[in-house]
């Protein structure tokens, strides 16, 4: 997610080409999506773990959605949508950090 955020920032500052930004943000989105897919394949051992897995899966889904929105905004070169996407991504990162502690 941090990669997508940094790249989107550079797009807003006009310091990168759209082709480069598109490739980097798409790769970042694929990476987040791969993490969610890998996480979903894990078998929770008990009921508490199932609850935790469902909670964290929602957080991961928010991160995937944020990455998708950023990718779409970057491809459209839509500054307003990129700013919205960055806000969304910041919230997703904050949630992920909360669970990683």
């Amino acid at each position: 997610m941090a990669t997508a955020q940094l790249m989107a920032d550079e797009v807003l500052r006009g310091r990168t080409t759209l082709a480069y930004a598109d490739t980097v943000v798409t790769d970042a989105e694929n990476d987040v999506s791969a993490v969610q897919t890998a996480f979903d394949t894990r078998q929770p051992p008990d009921a508490t773990s199932i609850t935790l897995r469902d909670e964290f899966d929602n957080v991961l889904q928010d991160a995937v959605t944020a990455a998708q929105d950023l990718r779409i905004a970057v491809r459209r070169d839509d500054a307003h949508a990129i700013r919205d996407g960055l806000d969304e991504a910041a919230k997703a990162v904050a949630q992920l950090q909360r669970y990683s502690r």
Partner: protein
């Protein structure tokens, strides 16, 4: 004047030609993840490459024979066969990684998926080997590879804490949260990226293509002793540029695009365009060199006519081996395997196999019957032997670390 020009071009070519996808990826990954704590591995690998590159070049210039020819003659057909097979397999893997690297560079420039570029790149690699003169390949791409100096410029434009960088180099410690096996795995990957066997064979065979003799020892030494270390510094700059930009944001390098983020942050679009040119030149040159290296060593082992100083019709088997290598490397990349993972595996396996290449060089460079007064002196021998012990240790540790860390995860 012409010799001075050749010398300058040779040194610049060595700088630009030293860096390939292995250096780009491993330097970027380690800088982002471990700061400068693994700079020692890069410096060690570069020192070893310089030492053994000079030995290989000296053997070539004095004996007027390529290193693989001499290896077969001095160490016997069977030992050389082991070296040949290992080197050919590694060349295919390295070539696949380089083709993937060119594809990733073109994808970053065009946003067209790298896999669509792979067949075109494979064709272009073969075309350059078939049609373009050796000196043009070596110099044009070597010089274009110098575009990667943009990382050095970026380092000065970023808010770089020089004292912290220097401290990381001098006092290497495993960062908190990272395991020792992973840290050592990446140390080996950096050493492996600096010691790619194809570079030794290409350097030596290139000497024959350029008709090196004892009179060219000075030129050869300048290429090895200035070019390789400065190329190593370029890799160090890529690693260092990742520290102020990627490490504080916990950005890991999983793709080539992330390696370039520090340059964009520092220099914007102009830096980006120069960097992409450097990425393309470094990886494309390495793709051509690794494919040609397969042709060189096979032809030298089997006693065939080889090289680009003769027409393709006079060295058909050399060109067939190059073509087969290109086809295998291209086909491997078309399986959609991740180019960055292929790169990591190829540099680590290269580190495991490097004693097979360096041991014969050390033996032959000591052979006074062949080398006369140009045989290794005591200091070079001591350094060569000490480094050989290191690479044997690296070779032994490589595969266990590869499996224990799941390739550095």
């Amino acid at each position: 004047m012409k010799r001075l020009l050749n010398l300058t071009l040779g040194v610049m070519t060595a700088i630009g030609g030293f860096v390939d996808i292995g250096n780009l990826v491993t330097s970027g990954i380690t800088g982002a993840r471990f700061g400068m704590s693994l700079a020692w591995a890069l410096l060690l690998g570069t020192a070893g490459m310089t030492l053994y590159g000079e030995m290989a070049g000296r053997v070539t210039a004095v004996s007027r024979r390529p290193i693989f020819h001499v290896v077969r003659e001095r160490l016997g057909v069977r030992t050389a066969m082991v070296n040949l097979v290992a080197s050919l397999l590694l060349n295919v893997l390295t070539l696949a990684a380089e083709i993937g690297g060119v594809g990733l560079a073109l994808a970053l420039a065009s946003s067209i998926n790298y896999i669509l570029w792979v067949p075109i790149i494979g064709f272009l690699v073969w075309f350059f080997i078939w049609k373009v003169p050796f000196a043009v390949i070596e110099r044009v791409f070597g010089l274009l590879g110098l575009a990667l100096m943009v990382f050095v410029v970026a380092l000065f434009h970023l808010h770089t804490h020089w004292h912290a960088l220097a401290s990381g180099i001098v006092n290497p410690v495993v960062p908190s949260g990272e395991g020792h096996p992973t840290w050592w795995f990446y140390a080996i990957s950096l050493i492996g990226a600096a010691l790619v066997p194809y570079q030794v064979f290409f350097f030596s065979s290139g000497g024959i293509e350029e008709k090196w003799s004892v009179e060219h020892l000075g030129e050869m030494r300048a290429n090895a002793l200035i070019g390789f270390p400065l190329g190593g510094l370029l890799s160090l700059a890529i690693m260092a540029a990742a520290v102020p930009v990627l490490q504080p944001r916990s950005i890991g390098v999983n793709h080539l695009g992330e390696v370039g983020l520090p340059v964009i942050a520092a220099l914007g679009k102009v830096g980006l365009i120069i960097m992409l040119l450097g990425f393309f030149a470094a990886t494309f040159a390495a793709a051509v060199e690794s494919a040609m290296s397969s042709g060189y060593i096979t032809a030298q082992y089997l006693g065939w006519s080889w090289g680009k100083q003769v027409r393709p019709s006079q060295a058909p088997r050399f060109h067939v081996v190059c073509l087969i290598t290109v086809l295998l490397g291209t086909a491997f990349m078309l399986t959609t395997v991740d180019p960055v993972k292929v790169t990591l595996v190829s540099v680590v396996l290269g580190a495991a196999a490097i004693p097979l290449t360096f041991f014969p060089i050390l033996v032959v460079a000591n052979d006074r019957r062949l080398m006369g007064k140009h045989a290794n002196g005591r200091i070079v021998n001591a350094l060569g032997f000490a480094f050989f012990v290191v690479i044997v240790a690296v070779s032994v540790a490589t595969l266990p670390l590869l499996f224990i860390t799941k390739a550095g995860q």
